[in-house]
Subunit: 399 residues, 2 copies
């Protein structure tokens, strides 16, 4: 990284101008720093005709935990390559990458000005009837076509080697699968949740299941995952959604991406049980979420089965009974990873607005307890749960 | 591979002399080509005082299937690095690598002149009371210390990337997990076995299980395996044994190495049921094999559990219930892979002397049927079999 330097707004403007023909000649460009997320600098470069692009540059350390957690800026290459690969498989649902530069760890993408972050929209109780269908399509296509069903052994191994992404995976290994289950200083636990957190630290049965999910996260390279598919990595408007921010991409268990999407919807559902807004609208939003959770799984299940039946290149994996068991195992994994996500968003380092926005402390604590309870149930019962409707039933018993 | 060329005996002699101080000064060296196995040239370089070393050079294609199956000579690096790594973990049971050269794809190792190939010895009904103990120790140490129990996520991923070994894995994927289950031209099926082979090709239930084992071979990087741990890769004498020939090494499911060792013992057991030699000695040899099969698993199980209990560096994987389930899953995998090995050695391309040596064709065919039957049982029942004694009972019912 000898030639790497953090971009100024001028650098970002030059980068965008040099590497696209988006702005045309004689454009007057301007650049605005949209701020820094925990790991990156983000700039919007615009011309005077209202056209714009986004420049994202990886920082050589994770802001959230200070310079003590060094991260290789190779994650910018990984982010760009994951988005390009997913973009080929699902162009309409993946943010378009126009260029990336390995030395500067910088990526040039389309600007999703017409879109908003899904998390913010869900917190505001906005509803998107095609959300589940779109995300199921993204998941089925990106997971299927990067798996052993579609790639030869050697091709798949080459991909695994390109996307090891050790540093970024370590963040998830620690924050999602270790910290919540011990008294770690990185945890962020309100006094009201302390007793519940302590129960997690001594829950051997739960920890045995989380150990399995963590071991699979470490050693089950089924497909090229997005790796961080929360509602903050999905941008949306009334017509469409786009997946962004694939810096955590790696070859891992398919259920991890699916579980994170499910968890985002579940957390939003639980969060709305703690709001004292218009009850009618709240119930309508929750009904929307239940439908989307159900549709997400059913449509993923149906698309993935169709792909396995029609597109499988690997002769032994064409076996119907094997495919049926494979999808059941993906379902169980997805529920387990959704459960881990619910738990870590309550007691781990990084919380979510879906719960944090609840201003009434008593109600928020109640919601957090619900998330912990559902998370534990999903992890413990994931292999017995036969279908997504049973998950919705569990959800209804929380209230 | 621009500077690569196949070694002459002179090249091999020079290579051995330059890269070791084994021979001392003023030695007169000689070199003998020990022949070619399917993938390599092998030379013995000796001095006039009876000291000797082995030079092994990878050929850029697999002899067994002609030049149509090109193989990267990078497998020499992999072989050397696997042996060096396993040698650090288990020095007394791994052949010593003195030097390796990436460009020439050549490896210099100790000469195991005092040892003989385990397969030949077992075919000759020789018995080695410490065989199981030694192999269990090799398996427990090499598998444990290269796994997620012992390595951090980033260290493990780096190792996975160094040992992808796509070409060599593809040979196993095809020969062990695909060919026997379809009418493939590479198969080597005697007319007497044709009907039994055809049953395999239409056995959907069996194929669903083999699909799972193949998928795990492709996507379950639990530990750095030897990858080809048959009795032909183990050299032995009355005191000790040494593992050689790690060119198939890769990160895969632990049960694969264990299953191959079990299969070598099972195939030898079955082979001896077809011999009309001295019945007393035959029964004694078979009793020896039963004891070794049992001891191999029990000692692996006990060593691996002790390592997990005392040495585990990964906090979540210290959970006792998880560890118990992990070892049960290794057992099931090992039985499944042993079953695949039994089947492919009867109907696949590469057969074994344990069965081939039976000169009476009727008896040989009977033994081959037994191997197929036991192979299928192990694959189908691997998750229900609670302990190794149940496997021995299955074996006794074959006669």
């Amino acid at each position: 990284m000898s030639d790497y330097h953090s971009f100024t707004t001028d650098d970002a403007m030059r980068f965008a101008d040099e590497h696209s023909d988006w702005f045309g000649e004689h454009s007057r460009l301007s650049c605005e720093k949209l701020g820094e997320d925990s790991l990156n600098l983000v700039f919007r470069v615009s011309n005077d005709k209202g056209r714009s692009l986004i420049v994202k540059q990886a920082l050589p350390y994770a802001y959230c935990v200070g310079e003590s957690w060094p991260l290789t800026i190779d994650r910018a290459r990984i982010e760009a390559e994951v988005l390009l690969k997913h973009g080929k498989l699902c162009p309409e649902l993946t943010v378009e990458v126009l260029h990336y530069d390995v030395t500067q760890a910088a990526i040039l993408t389309e600007d999703l000005k017409e879109y908003r972050m899904l998390r913010d929209e869900l917190v505001a109780a906005k509803q998107f009837p095609q959300l589940a269908e779109q995300l199921a399509s993204y998941l089925a296509n990106t997971l299927y076509y990067t798996s052993d069903f579609a790639l030869t052994g050697p091709n798949k191994k080459q991909q695994v080697g390109r996307f090891l992404n050790a540093d970024m995976c370590l963040i998830t290994e620690d924050l999602s699968f270790t910290d919540p289950y011990c008294n770690h200083e990185r945890n962020n636990i309100t006094p009201e949740l302390r007793t519940a957190a302590q129960q997690l630290w001594h829950d051997d049965a739960l920890q045995a299941e989380v150990a399995q999910l963590k071991a699979d996260f470490l050693s089950k390279p089924q497909a090229l995952l997005h790796g961080n598919l929360h509602s903050s990595s999905i941008f949306i408007n009334d017509d469409n959604c786009k997946v962004i921010a694939a810096g955590f991409g790696f070859y891992g268990p398919m259920g991890f991406d699916i579980g994170n999407v499910l968890a985002s919807l579940l957390l939003n559902y639980i969060g709305h049980t703690g709001l004292t807004e218009d009850v009618g609208h709240r119930q309508q939003h929750q009904q929307f979420l239940l439908e989307q959770i159900s549709a997400l799984w059913h449509q993923f299940d149906s698309s993935f089965k169709q792909l396995m039946a029609q597109e499988c290149r690997e002769p032994m994996l064409q076996n119907t009974a094997y495919q049926q068991r494979f999808i059941s195992q993906i379902f169980a994994d997805a529920l387990g990873y959704a459960g881990c996500e619910l738990i870590r968003r309550v007691v781990g380092m990084a919380h979510v607005a879906d719960l944090e926005q609840i201003s009434n402390k008593t109600l928020r604590t109640e919601c957090e307890h619900k998330a912990l309870k559902l998370g534990r149930q999903l992890i413990m019962q994931r292999r017995e749960l036969a279908n997504i409707e049973q998950v919705l039933t569990m959800l209804s018993y929380l209230e």
